[in-house]
């Protein structure tokens, strides 16, 4: 692996290898040494969580970072092409972590620079490190990725996280339930891909009956910033709200995940429940990003 741009290009063995590496880093069995290396965190689109997670991962391994947060004050605003910006950064850094609102921007980056590129989100397309940390979290809590029953709830149309995750899990014989308000259903191309791989999935409106079957529930935020008309957002934002009452009949191994940030789709009184896993999930992200950087820079 030279770059990590899309889960489409990460096979089952690579997923399991990265999970194993993240676990060994978390347990202190492997301590990758990133000292003397510089990561360029190019966040053309703002993000606090992913940016901090990567920066933490870099610094935990003794590396350094240069950070661009938002394109507002940079030459991008002056009309510089993305390729030129990247070729300049290529002269400074040892690897690039990049978030951009334009789909395919990270793929373009891999074609103009000769240092590793990690896609930290490109528009509504891919967010592979989130998918990898989700897979790591599922593996940690379930002991396997194989044969799990997983519900994905919320914005399944525009939320890139659920697309990458569904694609990645489809290699592990899952059963999926999808619940989303109105027009925010899982896109057809994802459903076509799942059908082609004979993955069992069902789109449901009422989530109550499926809850006792679930190993994992993955809730996503209805993303206000992706709605052109505010009224449309208001109509669907409260469609699925997870409270402790919704989750009374869950299996012992059940976990509730969320990529964060949450707004109101999981009420705060859920946080104290045994199955509330989203903050550990964020913590797992640092170990997984350490694993990904180590792998791409061949530190391990």
């Amino acid at each position: 692996m030279q770059n990590l741009v899309s889960m489409r290009q990460v096979n089952k063995d690579e997923i399991l290898r990265l999970i194993d590496l993240a676990a060994q880093i978390e347990q202190g069995k492997i301590k990758p040494d990133l000292s003397g290396k510089l990561g360029a965190l190019l966040f053309f689109e703002p993000s606090t969580r992913t940016l901090f997670s990567f920066d933490t991962a870099i610094k935990r391994m003794g590396g350094n970072s240069i950070v661009m947060a938002g394109a507002g004050s940079t030459s991008v605003k002056k009309g510089e092409s993305l390729a030129d910006t990247l070729m300049t950064i290529n002269q400074y850094a040892d690897f690039i972590v990049m978030r951009h609102k334009v789909e395919g921007a990270a793929r373009l980056a891999t074609e103009v620079v000769d240092i590793p590129v990690i896609n930290a989100g490109d528009g509504t397309n891919q967010h592979p490190t989130q998918a990898m940390l989700d897979l790591y979290s599922i593996f940690k809590t379930q002991g396997t990725l194989q044969n799990l029953t997983i519900a994905m709830i919320g914005d399944l149309r525009l939320g890139r996280t659920v697309h990458s995750l569904a694609q990645a899990l489809s290699e592990f014989n899952p059963t999926f339930y999808f619940a989303s308000p109105g027009h925010l259903q899982m896109p057809r191309y994802i459903k076509d891909e799942l059908r082609a791989k004979n993955v069992r999935f069902e789109e449901v409106e009422d989530i109550k009956p499926i809850i006792p079957k679930l190993d994992v529930m993955y809730v996503t935020r209805i993303q206000k910033e992706r709605f052109a008309v505010l009224e449309d957002y208001e109509k669907v934002k409260d469609a699925y709200i997870i409270t402790p009452d919704v989750l009374t009949r869950v299996k012992d191994n059940f976990v509730l995940m969320h990529p964060l940030p949450r707004v109101n789709e999981i009420t705060t009184d859920v946080d104290k429940e045994r199955y509330a896993y989203y903050f550990q999930q964020a913590r797992n992200g640092v170990f997984m990003r350490q694993a990904i950087i180590s792998q791409l820079l061949q530190l391990v």
Binding site: G104, G123, D192
Partner: protein, 154 residues
């Protein structure tokens, strides 16, 4: 509409290319993609002609023009059934059934307005994911489209 008997309508050409067995209604699209300028290329277009094999078909006859490999690939995407016939002095010198390519470089426009190929000045690239019917996936934004939903660059 009943297809028109071809023989009554289309004359042979001396030298050039005949594109036969075009999916009915696609001849004008092919003419556009081949960038045929009438003053330079004498061209005959038959639309919705009778075909025993296909029911209805289109046909294109172009004087003094041979097609490149690249152009034939484009035709395969628009009409996989097309036969491309090279003519010299009224004689057929070559007959080809163009194949749908695996990748398509800088011929299509990605329909996704938020794709990097529509924002930055870079060539487009698509991978063919299904062949019957043809669908393609953008190498950059990874969105998949049926070929009829994708515009060609002219």
């Amino acid at each position: 509409m009943t297809p028109v008997k071809e023989k009554l309508k289309v004359d042979p050409i001396k030298s050039g290319t005949v594109i036969d067995h075009i999916t009915a209604g696609k001849a004008l699209v092919i003419a556009d993609v081949l960038n045929l300028n009438p003053p330079e290329n004498l061209m005959m277009i038959g639309v919705n002609l009778h075909s025993r094999k296909m029911g209805a078909k289109d046909i294109l006859k172009i004087e003094n023009r041979r097609l490149t490999e690249d152009e034939m690939n484009s035709i395969a995407l628009i009409s996989p059934t097309a036969t491309i016939i090279a003519i010299k002095d009224f004689v057929v010198v070559e007959k080809r059934h163009p194949a749908i390519p695996d990748t398509i470089s800088d011929k299509l426009i990605c329909p996704n307005p938020n794709c990097v190929t529509n924002v930055e000045q870079i060539p487009t690239r698509f991978e063919v994911v299904d062949r019957d019917p043809v669908s393609v996936r953008c190498h950059y934004c990874e969105k998949k489209y049926a070929i009829q939903d994708v515009q060609f660059k002219f």
